[in-house]
Symmetry: C2
Subunit: 328 residues, 2 copies
């Protein structure tokens, strides 16, 4: 690794390589090394994310909603209530102040929806051509309210794997907005702050939650399964995929499991609470189309398997290189 | 304000304008509106800063040391011990991985010096030409240990204003590294995490602290004096300025009070503790050249005055536009 490549930021294997071989060589705090999306500090969680999406506005959302939702979701999947958020803007000289206001308005709305308070910030302006319009970093603090807090250590064979609705929407919406591959779709991003949904899971036997953003479901499930004494089996026919997303994947050869989502949460829960979870999600706007998509198995330890509609099995690998175009 | 200008990121009046007229229109949390460099959350402080310095390496430091020190210092001046830090990288495609390692190494060293733990992070890679090598955001959490916590409300006429050493070094070092104005100097940036020094002030009657970065001393003192029932008088002859920095200011017409520092703290303290503070600083590597530079006055309420070496007085205004070249 002599030069940083786009794939190093793709959220897949190259990103893990960069983090593990370079970054963790210097930053080796035991909390950081857990590789959760948020750091767990006693009863608090702390997380950060930078948003560099292009275009800034896409069907169903914009960079502002994304920047707040991304950090709210990273906190929420830790079983924590989002409390405080910082916002760091890097703005390109000449950026339109009215567009900035639209983004600020989206951020405020997303923050209000999730109850998070924006309490500190920073604004830098860089010369024209030194940034792609605007980049936004958000960092957030949440208070763990789920008891016990969800964590990968709690996952056991027999648990079920759920998702709160159709997958791949964000990635396809952004690619459409970019007019790449001449794509014309009616797909809208699923970007949303998930705390209003996730908070309703309190009291149920939730083992683990994670939002499948960059790298998609394949990345999340591979990460939590590797070196563990369980496997995960996903049923292809159970995956909630809209016909339009399925069509794009077929035409362009994308694996829907690699596509980024921004309003989805993978939930691993005790089987006894699966129906309850489906009922909660079914009555919530953020949970329409929720499904049980798989289960935690004793066999195939350390691996994620997809049982295809043709009843064959294939191993799901984390995305490597740039199998799907970078959108963030 | 139709377009965002470089001056909107300069830390002076235009930045305040952007924040107050645009950002605070949407983000109006009472904690944010206090406009401290860090948010105070009960006994915690929370702060964020993005670092976009060019060049990445300059005499006396680099972007890595800067990114950790900046956030450590924002926490420290609140009378808080830096505990946890997040790091968000935005890296340009093609960036040299060895250079990244140098930066990581600097960050680790600065974090170790200040006792802060890097516990969470994020890495994005953007296309070539969409970023200036690397941008770093750091956010931090600290625990307030000074009692009472320093805050502008505690400042009273009769208090003294101190600084821990020579001013303007960071700005001139970076400008030198850029080879702007054909500058050849031996000036080294003062960049440093200040907690090891500041923590020694505990127990003394510290009213207020702030690190004079973008916008310099003029910005900090103007901000805290405006609309208050006190004035501040600074003695020009007491300002610690090295001959080399003074020379550059004279030649290029910079006001040394507008120059950015990255290892300086302005301290406002009860007069009775001023000598004690000077003694502490004098025996610490980060406090060499510390001075009393002025006092809080009953007269000239809301204003900052400079008593010049010629014994005349002039009002110090916050920097407007780009009086000194942007370096961050």
């Amino acid at each position: 690794m002599e030069k940083i490549l786009l794939a190093h930021g793709g959220g897949g294997q190259k990103t893990s390589e960069l983090i593990q071989k370079k970054i963790h060589k210097y930053f080796n705090d035991p909390i950081l090394s857990r590789m959760d999306d948020s750091a767990v500090l006693d009863k608090w969680v702390f997380t950060t994310d930078s948003f560099v999406v292009n275009p800034l506005f896409f069907p169903g959302g914009d960079i502002g909603e994304l920047a707040v939702s991304g950090t709210v979701n990273d906190i929420s999947v830790m079983g924590a209530r989002p409390l405080y958020m910082s916002v760091g803007f890097i703005i390109e000289e000449g950026f339109d102040a009215d567009v900035l206001e639209k983004i600020l308005d989206s951020m405020k709305k997303a923050a209000d929806k999730s109850g998070v308070r924006i309490v500190t910030g920073d604004t830098k302006v860089v010369e024209r051509g030194k940034c792609d319009n605007i980049y936004i970093n958000t960092s957030g603090i949440g208070e763990i309210v789920f008891s016990p807090p969800p964590s990968v250590e709690q996952i056991k064979p027999g648990d079920v794997v759920l998702i709160n609705g159709p997958i791949g929407l964000h990635q396809i919406a952004v690619l459409t907005a970019r007019d790449e591959f001449g794509l014309k779709t009616e797909v809208y991003s699923d970007v949303a702050p998930l705390w209003p949904l996730i908070k309703q899971f309190q009291g149920l036997d939730i083992k683990f939650m994670r939002d499948p953003t960059r790298g998609g479901i394949a990345q999340v499930l591979s990460e939590i399964t590797i070196n563990r004494d369980f496997g995960i089996q996903i049923h292809e026919e159970a995956l909630p995929v809209t016909p339009e997303v399925a069509g794009v994947c077929e035409i362009l050869g994308f694996d829907v499991l690699h596509l980024a989502n921004e309003g989805k949460v993978i939930i691993i829960a005790a089987e006894k609470d699966a129906q309850k979870l489906l009922e909660i999600m079914d009555t919530h706007p953020l949970g329409k189309g929720a499904r049980i998509i798989g289960k935690v198995t004793e066999k195939n330890q350390g691996l994620v398997f997809l049982k295809t509609t043709a009843q064959s099995e294939r191993i799901i690998m984390p995305p490597t290189g740039e199998l799907v175009p970078r959108i963030c």
